[in-house]
């Protein structure tokens, strides 16, 4: 213990920081991003904050969560920086730290991966059900109910029932967790 949240965030984002080390603040990434309208901090500004260790500002913002991995910034950055990958690292850090504003995305991804771990492939119905239960938001499933029913009626998803068999990819997932710590 004794480590502040800020220190932990710093350690987790050290790699992301290295990735954007040669940023010249030209703003091409911001100009290329389709999601800036929904970001409180622009991508260019975020790299600046990252390089100057303003982790609290980054992790109290929603910007990196809004990234939809379109790879425009990565493609166009004049310094050839892997910006989409840096965004992903921030998402990983936010998810590991269980940050509040990332909860919805994080639960979505975790439910998805639980399904993969168990079956090797995604069982969409199961993972959506798990996601809704984890969110404990009664209104949320309703927003998807229409689509869900349509998919069911076309035989595209199949209601899943939890069963107790050993997960298909459990060994791989456990090994990854062991190596990553």
């Amino acid at each position: 213990m004794g480590q502040t949240t800020n220190d932990r965030l710093l350690a987790m984002t050290e790699t992301a920081k290295e990735m954007v080390g040669t940023c010249i603040q030209c703003g091409t990434c911001t100009a290329s991003c389709p999601n800036t309208e929904f970001m409180d901090i622009t991508p260019r500004h975020m790299w600046r904050l990252l390089l100057t260790d303003h982790m609290d500002a980054i992790f109290s913002s929603k910007s990196f969560i809004m990234c939809s991995s379109c790879y425009y910034c990565t493609l166009r950055c004049p310094r050839g920086l892997e910006l989409t990958a840096a965004m992903s690292l921030l998402k990983q850090a936010a998810s590991k730290l269980e940050l509040k504003q990332f909860r919805r995305s994080s639960l979505f991804y975790k439910s998805f991966l639980d399904s993969v771990k168990k079956h090797g492939r995604v069982k969409e119905m199961e993972f959506m059900t798990q996601y809704f239960m984890a969110m404990k938001n009664p209104v949320l499933p309703f927003a998807y109910a229409v689509l869900g029913l349509k998919l069911l009626s076309k035989g595209k998803v199949h209601p899943e029932f939890p069963f107790g068999s050993k997960g298909k990819l459990t060994a791989l997932f456990n090994k990854v967790a062991e190596l990553e710590g």
Partner: protein
């Protein structure tokens, strides 16, 4: 021509019609596909936002399975998200040997080894570079000549790897569309983002991007896609966005191989147009 085939999870479920029409079209073009035995999920966009290592291990498992089959050095992938995950893994293990070693430590749990011999190809790459376009021309007798269709590429088959098309101004579908007699809708939204999983997790942001694409497609007879995620986003949100914007944004959305298959004389049932979520009637009335 033969390829190993990686369908991916969506093609088994929500995008079954993409799988069915891809197999059908390839058979018609004389291409053989052999499914990778016991393939598993590539991690989609979930793994990379949770764990760096897992985001490479999941695709790597499939590349290792493909190497084990060792019947062809190329893997054909129709889903753009799967394609990019597999491609990223193909690329990084050539440079990052410590990562390859780590991946192999994990894969050893299943007695698998990854050497890095496989080449990953997107369906659109194979259609526009390997398949003989004369076959599509000859099979379709200009059947689609009354149609104007909008090619939609999305992101992950174009970026960040520049393999078979211009990542900013894609045109690889043009020749395929024209081979059927149809015209290409003139727009600049082909390579724009559909919002990916934002439509589920951050609907306000995701819907804005889908709305822009649907609005720009006004005047086209259909949108063609090459990715299950794009297809789902463009098809399943039309009513919601139309209602919100007070516009009629209804438009048929088809997977490219469904369109090419129909042009080459396959029936609506063959390419499973009944499975599409958008209203395809306007398209079928004009096309058939």
């Amino acid at each position: 021509m033969n390829y190993l085939y990686y369908p991916g999870c969506s093609l088994e479920g929500t995008s079954a019609e993409y799988d069915i029409s891809t197999r059908l079209l390839m058979a018609a073009a004389g291409v053989q596909l052999e499914e990778i035995e016991d393939w598993s999920c590539c991690g989609a966009t979930a793994a990379e936002s949770q764990s760096h290592l897992l985001s490479y291990v999941l695709p790597a498992r499939n590349l290792a399975l493909a190497e084990k089959m060792n019947r062809s050095k190329e893997i054909l992938v129709p889903c753009s998200a799967c394609y990019l995950n597999l491609k990223k893994t193909e690329a990084i293990i050539k440079k990052d040997k410590p990562l390859l070693k780590k991946i192999n430590t994990v894969l050893a749990e299943e007695d698998l080894v990854l050497k890095g011999e496989m080449k990953v190809r997107h369906l659109l790459d194979v259609l526009s570079n390997d398949v003989d376009i004369e076959k599509i021309k000859a099979g379709s007798h200009h059947k689609m000549k009354d149609l104007v269709v909008a090619p939609y590429y999305g992101c992950q088959c174009l970026r960040p790897f520049k393999i078979f098309d211009d990542p900013e101004d894609p045109h690889s579908m043009d020749a395929l569309i024209q081979a059927t007699g149809a015209s290409v809708f003139d727009w600049d939204m082909g390579g724009q983002c559909c919002g990916a999983s934002n439509t589920s997790t951050k609907p306000e942001a995701g819907m804005a991007l889908v709305g822009n694409i649907l609005k720009a497609a006004h005047g086209a007879d259909a949108i063609l896609t090459v990715c299950p995620m794009c297809q789902m986003n463009l098809e399943s949100n039309q009513k919601k966005i139309s209602h919100k914007e007070g516009l009629d944004l209804d438009i048929p959305v088809l997977f490219l191989p469904q369109f090419l298959g129909l042009a080459m004389g396959k029936t609506l049932t063959d390419v499973r147009l009944d499975l599409n979520l958008s209203n395809t009637r306007a398209f079928t009335e004009k096309a058939i």
